[in-house]
Amino acid sequence: MAEIIGGVGTSHVPSIGIAIDKGLVDTPDWKPFFDGYIPGKQWMADKKPDVAVVIFNDHGNTFFLDRVPTFAVGVAESYTPVDEGWGPRAVPDFEGAVDLSWHLVDQLVDNHFDPMVCREIEVDHGLQVPMELFFGRPEHWPVKVVPIWVNTIQYPIPTPQRCWEMGKLLRKAIESFPGDERVVIMGTGGLSHQLQGSRAGFINREADQAWLDGIANDYEKYRDMTREDYVEQFGSEGAELIMWLVMRAAMDDKVELKHKHYYAPASMTGAGMVVLENA
């Protein structure tokens, strides 16, 4: 049966990808941010997963407002990076883990969780940037992917509790897949930021640090918070952090916090990551 080898929570700020594209990784603005990811990258290289299940949101690049799936699962053979307005990036296509994707869809629907199923679809920075942060910029990605989209743009967005339930189910589904795949699950987005309204530029360093410390073994309060709590503490776009709950719920009750990194601001955003293993 497939095995979850670890969980990663990470930012997916688009400016991170632009900084890589423009060769700014070693500039004073960005070096401390990227340096903090070195242990995470090393962990990934040592663990050698076969598949990354990536939980992220689209940012008005793939889904328009004509149809807004609350949850969507990709079952494609390949995912091309979408043109976000600046033209295509030099990021290779992502190969899909088709059989695992379909298995997850089967299991989710059988258990009364009903995502949109996407056979032909592109992916935006929400998936690209986490992959670049943990795998660099290889010619071919060393893992296949299962993209899972969560609507965090148009209200109502799903509740944190529903994200938690999705993570619980995903774990069961992954662990019932007949194969020996090593699976890493990546919850992405955040940390605190707000891009719109007169509170724009809101960053809550304290709340971000507490999140990075607490998401491992003091997760209950985050699981039980309302959407409003997320918006208040982390900003309107910082509410993306609910997607880390999917990852966290797919792990054991007790986990080991292997790596942690925080840096602010990356563009207008508190940024960072955790790497978790089942204890």
């Binding site: 008005g60 033209g87 509170r199 530029g201 409003e228 207008m268």
Partner: protein, 113 residues
């Protein structure tokens, strides 16, 4: 549920905004395609007209008034594509949201010297 639209200074993209800003956001979304970016650059007003934008919406877009665009139902993730056609820095757009000078915004909001 508690009402997340009630947090001060925080416009969440609820049904009213989504309905209000639909045409502007649809226009901006289309800039993900190079042929639409070319059409926008060649004749911006005609391009905006082709998406049925109101006079007020057109004025906000053509003035690159990021604050006004959001007030009219624009969602930043869509309208950011305008900044890809006519480059603007993210923190300048943020400063416009906060209605602050860029330097003050960087210092006071983002803690940059």
């Amino acid at each position: 549920m508690s009402d997340p639209t009630q947090i001060p200074e925080t416009p969440l993209f609820d049904r009213e905004r989504s309905k209000q800003g639909y045409r502007m956001n649809k226009m901006a979304m289309s800039l993900g395609k190079p042929e639409n970016r070319a059409a926008f650059k060649a004749d911006e007003e005609a391009f905006l007209d082709s998406y049925g934008l109101s006079a007020e919406e057109k004025a906000a877009v053509m003035a690159r008034d990021w604050h006004r665009m959001v007030a009219l139902g624009g969602n930043l993730f869509f309208i950011l594509k305008i900044a890809a056609v006519d480059p603007a820095v993210m923190t300048e757009i943020g400063a416009a949201q906060a209605q602050m000078e860029h330097a003050d915004f960087l210092k006071q909001r983002l803690g940059k010297e």
